[in-house]
């Protein structure tokens, strides 16, 4: 090669190199000068965001400033894959430390694909991970350990190739102690961040669930109605209870600000504030937390005793309509919803036949039974169909003549009083105190043989509505039911039948078609207690701003007045006073609040969930609810309390009586309210357990195994009756069940003498022995049981003497 050739080629090389740099410089000029403005805008678009500042949700206090719900910070551990160390060993060290701290597996895959990798474009070189199934769906709202069953590495790698800056939530709601450890080791854990998000914590869980409700993401199908109110799709809103009702107060106003963010979307600084954030207002309730706790406890205890699955108790201040306590059982834990409920948890709750998600205090519809009797009493007096002196003689049964053959007594329909022997001559006051059915049949429906007219359906309905029945009270809670005050048209439309006098009879004692919510009834009695005003019951007393300043005070709101002459109202009040304070008043034996002058009314409402399981052998309804409503002190009432205990267990029937089940619950509540020491339990419970049977000691019995039936559930069942010499069922007789010689259960016969025992699981070869616990000399039954068989048994008293009349039907 000649010198000249070398020089030419050298020159060409230099020219090419210069040309290459000129091309680069030209592109530089093109990017920075020609398109500079566009790229500056893109760079700004990268880093500036218009961000919402979430307003912290208001909290809720009870009347004594006891905090009921609060916002608790939740710490989540997050990994940003792009920030993990590039060196695979160092990354493995981060994972193993995280695994140690959080007690999570690093990987759950059997053959982890690991490769040393130190090249550039770390994530892309891991192309083998892109073939992994993308199982990891990251949902920031689901409050779970979302990487399960994946390990930490699996979760991080799932989206790493496609979104290396996407935050991967490794663990949620992490213990603050572990969080502080991670913070301390921050330098050794690159790529690991802690994210703090607020979570609603319901401090008293199930105790206040129905009242407080819960929050959650806006349901997609309802978003249209939220959108005009300045909500975003990702916002959390109140979905039930007070959280829903007072949403507009609790939510506050979201702030809006311009922020600068880094590539992971984390805020670096605030550039400008466009709308200042305002935290939500706080609510102060009229609720008394202590009373609520005492109520729930007493109610649950009573329900357990009679094996009832549902119960309600409400206490309110009759002078204002303020709710002091409101319990609906069974309940649920509303924290499940605030942290994101799983499908399984939700289906368990929503498929429970006792509907724990429903607030039975405001949405449960039940026949009121005898506590309805204030309505015919008020109506009769006001309309003049009865006076204070009017008496009817109760012989235990009233025969309603057949409509077409009034003279044929065989066709007449009997209507019984709960007391089979009758109450004798009864006036309005004693009728209420004794809860005399026969009196109210006639007041309500008239009695044609005596040419007595009665109120009739229309007027009875009017007075029911005057007390606020058949219509929602308007309490500040969502989901309230209105109940049902039937009329002729209603029956024609729903049953295609004519309204009969018998229907009016049933309605007069709170049976038949009339349905009420416990809240309606307690409000009706509240109006009697306060002298005739119906207030709108309410839970929220005051709305306060975040600094504690009063924003709005809820004033008592009158929704109706009793159109009732004060002297007549006084008569009704006398009757209610008698129910507790007369020696033979229906609640007298069970009401125990020393030093407090109270009035009230018991009720036992027959109902039938499923025919024919709820019928006894005579075809009569044997399942009943217990009611009791009371106000105290009688002359200047401060509190009205209603107690309701549902009587029916699915399938098998349990009868509960207002007096004996519901009254003690109300007593406990009032004792708490009036600060009276509990001195019962010592001798009180003994009374309950013993001496309740009406059989005298030494009564002789005959025991019979009547036959067997197939039993559709697991295990075996024995059911039977305890009968007196007349073949009538006798309640409160203790029956012991022994399996292979050991006592496994003690049953108390129900209102119709019925008792029922299910084996807890499947039976193999067992010998059961059934005997009367209080009568060791009585014969017992002993038989080998087989799986899937139901045994029908009977104990019948043999003594020739008359036993006391058995209790049955309405009190």
């Amino acid at each position: 090669m000649t010198e000249a050739q070398i020089q030419i080629r050298s020159f060409i090389l230099r020219t090419m190199i210069l040309f290459a740099f000129i091309v680069l410089a030209f592109q530089l000029w093109n990017l920075q000068i020609v398109q500079g403005e566009t790229y500056r805008e893109l760079a700004d678009a990268n880093r500036f965001r218009l961000a919402q500042v979430p307003a912290s949700r208001g909290v809720i206090y009870d009347r004594n400033d006891e905090l009921l719900v609060r916002n608790r910070p939740v710490y989540n551990v997050i990994v940003i894959p792009a920030y993990l160390p590039e060196d695979a060993t160092a990354e493995a060290r981060v994972f193993s430390r995280l695994s140690e701290l959080l007690n999570l597996p690093i990987t759950t895959q059997l053959d982890p694909t690991t490769g040393l990798n130190n090249g550039y474009f770390h994530a892309i070189n891991h192309h083998q991970y892109s073939r992994l199934p993308q199982r990891q769906i990251i949902n920031p709202r689901s409050r779970r350990y979302i990487n399960q069953p994946q390990g930490i590495r699996d979760a991080v790698n799932a989206n790493r190739v496609f979104a290396p800056f996407l935050q991967v939530v490794i663990a949620e709601d992490v213990d603050p102690i572990i969080v502080s450890k991670i913070e301390e080791e921050r330098l050794n854990l690159p790529g690991v961040l802690i994210d703090i998000s607020p979570n609603r914590e319901y401090i008293y869980q199930g105790l206040l669930s129905h009242m407080l409700g819960y929050i959650g993401p806006i349901p997609a199908e309802q978003f249209e109605s939220y959108e005009p109110l300045d909500y975003d799709l990702t916002d959390i809103v109140g979905l039930a209870g007070l959280e829903f009702q007072y949403e507009e107060w609790l939510r506050g106003i979201k702030g809006l600000e311009n922020i600068e963010v880094d590539v992971t979307g984390q805020k670096i600084r605030t550039v400008s504030q466009n709308v200042t954030v305002r935290p939500g207002h706080n609510l102060r309730l009229s609720l008394d937390l202590g009373l609520q706790q005492a109520t729930a406890e007493a109610l649950q205890e009573a329900m357990d005793e009679v094996n009832s699955q549902q119960g309600v108790s409400i206490s309110l201040n009759p002078q204002t309509g303020e709710i002091l306590a409101m319990v609906s059982l069974p309940s649920y834990d509303n924290n499940l919803f605030s942290r994101g409920i799983t499908a399984r948890e939700l289906s368990l709750l929503s498929e429970d036949p006792q509907a724990p998600l429903v607030d039975h205090a405001i949405a449960g519809l039940y026949p009121p039974g005898s506590i309805f009797k204030i309505i015919p009493a008020s109506g009769g007096l006001q309309e003049g169909t009865v006076t204070e002196q009017t008496t009817f003689v109760d012989e235990g049964v009233l025969y309603l003549p057949n409509l077409f053959q009034p003279d044929n007594l065989d066709l007449a329909q009997p209507f019984y009083c709960w007391l089979r022997n009758g109450h004798g001559p009864v006036s309005v006051v004693s009728a209420l105190a004794w809860s005399c059915n026969v009196y109210f049949y006639q007041v309500g429906g008239g009695y044609s043989p005596a040419e007595y007219e009665g109120l009739g359906l229309t007027r009875l309905g009017n007075y029911a509505r005057m007390y606020g029945l058949g219509e929602a009270t308007g309490i500040d809670l969502p989901g309230e039911s209105g109940g049902l005050v039937p009329n002729e048209q209603w029956k024609r439309l729903n049953y295609a039948e004519t309204w009969l006098t018998g229907d009016t009879y049933n309605m007069s004692i709170g049976q038949g078609f009339v349905l009420v919510t416990p809240l309606q009834m307690v409000n009706a009695y509240s109006s009697i207690a306060n002298g005739g005003t119906l207030y709108r019951p309410h839970l929220v007393k005051e709305i306060l701003d975040a600094d504690g300043n009063l924003v709005e005070e809820v004033e008592p709101q009158v929704i109706g007045r009793l159109d009732l002459d004060p002297q007549y109202l006084q008569l009704v009040r006398q009757g209610l006073w008698g129910a507790i304070n007369w020696e033979n008043g229906t609640a007298a034996d069970y009401f125990d609040v020393p030093g407090v002058d109270a009035s009230g009314k018991t009720g036992t409402a027959e109902f039938c969930d499923s025919y024919p399981a709820c019928l006894d052998r005579d075809g009569r309804v044997k399942t009943s609810h217990a009611w009791f409503v009371t106000y105290a002190p009688t002359n200047n009432p401060e509190i009205v309390t209603i107690v309701f205990v549902y009587g029916g267990k699915q399938g098998a029937g349990v009868a509960v009586q207002g007096s004996e089940v519901a009254v003690p619950v109300a007593s406990k509540i009032l004792r708490y309210y009036f600060n009276i020491e509990d001195e019962e339990d010592v001798d009180g419970t003994e009374d309950d357990d013993e001496n309740l049977t009406e059989f005298e000691l030494g009564t002789e019995f005959e025991a019979r195994l009547l036959g067997t039936d197939s039993w559709s559930r697991d295990g075996a069942n024995v059911s039977g009756f305890v009968l007196n010499a007349n073949g009538e069922g006798v309640s409160n007789v203790a029956v012991e069940v022994l399996v292979n010689g050991e006592v496994v259960d003690q049953l108390i016969s129900g209102e119709t003498g019925q008792f029922d025992y299910n084996s807890p699981g499947q039976v193999e070869t067992e010998t059961w022995q059934i005997r009367l616990a209080d009568f060791p000399d009585a014969p017992f039954l002993m038989f080998d049981v087989a799986e899937g068989v139901r045994y029908l048994v009977e104990f019948e008293a043999q003594s020739p003497q008359e036993t006391t009349a058995a209790l049955s039907g309405n009190e």
Partner: protein, 366 residues
Amino acid sequence: MDRRIWRQFDLVLVGIVVLLILYGVIMIFSANQNQEDLRELWWTQLTRAGFGLVVLVLVAAIDYRYYASLHRFLYVVMLVFLGTLFIAAELTAGTLRWLDFTLFPVQPSEIAKIVIIIVTAKILAERDGEMSKFSNLLVAISLVVPPLVLIYLQPDLGTTIITAVVWLIMVLMAGGNLFQIGLLGLGGVLASPVVWLTMAEYQRERVLLFLNPDQTDPSYFNIQQALISIGSGGLLGKGFSIGTQNQLHFLRVRHTDFIFSVIGEELGMLGAILLFLLIIGVIWRILRAADLTKDPFGRLICIGVAALVFFQSFVNLGVNLGLLPVTGTPLPFVSYGGSSLFAFLIALGLVQSVLMRHKALDFEEV
């Protein structure tokens, strides 16, 4: 050793290189200042540069002609290294470009580039003036293909192409016949479907990405962010250590492959042109050494190093400016990374060694 030869040591070249390294160190500091685990990297780079300059002087002190006698041995050792790496990579089912030396990690393909330059220079110098013969061209090709295949299989397409281009420039500068090389190039084009089929999936993705940008891909994100960084820098830049793309980490692999984007954003067109001038200065000083050297072996070494500095810079800058597909190539002397820095300082040591001895050679010949 004659002490007078040190007078020929090109201090201007070393001075420009030191400026480039310091430029890089400052930008590495800016790129990582708010990322705790990487905050100290600028210091690491600076100490490595100091160490590397010592290595440069040591390499310069050794007579480069010594390597000519060793070229067969160097070639075999290089193939063994690359082969070992390939087998190890097969076993670990990942891309493995590093061998863990106890002193510092060196990427064998970086060393391979230098060995290929020395061996090629030797082969071409032996056939000085006869390179227009097709048989000699085939000899040169047959020597370069085995290491290229091994590098390609690592897989490291970027280094393969850079090495091939360096080889091509050296052949042309040694008098290679343009027509023959053109024929070979045609053959290469015809063989490209084979190359495409043997490419790793990610490599194909990157080429496709370059041809047809998909905005959802993270690689596209990186390139797009690099363009935004450079473009938003404007004439004067946003100011040192306050570039938003850089500081808020929108720009990825900031301190290595995309260090030029940091310069473009923070120091603007002026800073970028300054960098261009420094790199051109380095290349020119190396080419000056080539011109001064009459010994074909020494001259071709210098041309090889100049071609390496040029083409690797061109590829890196081209990627940053969106002119070339992403390859993961560091910017010589500027990007963070000990392996690349050492390789280039050793290469400069070779150039100095050649330069220092070009006069002595004259005397011997006279």
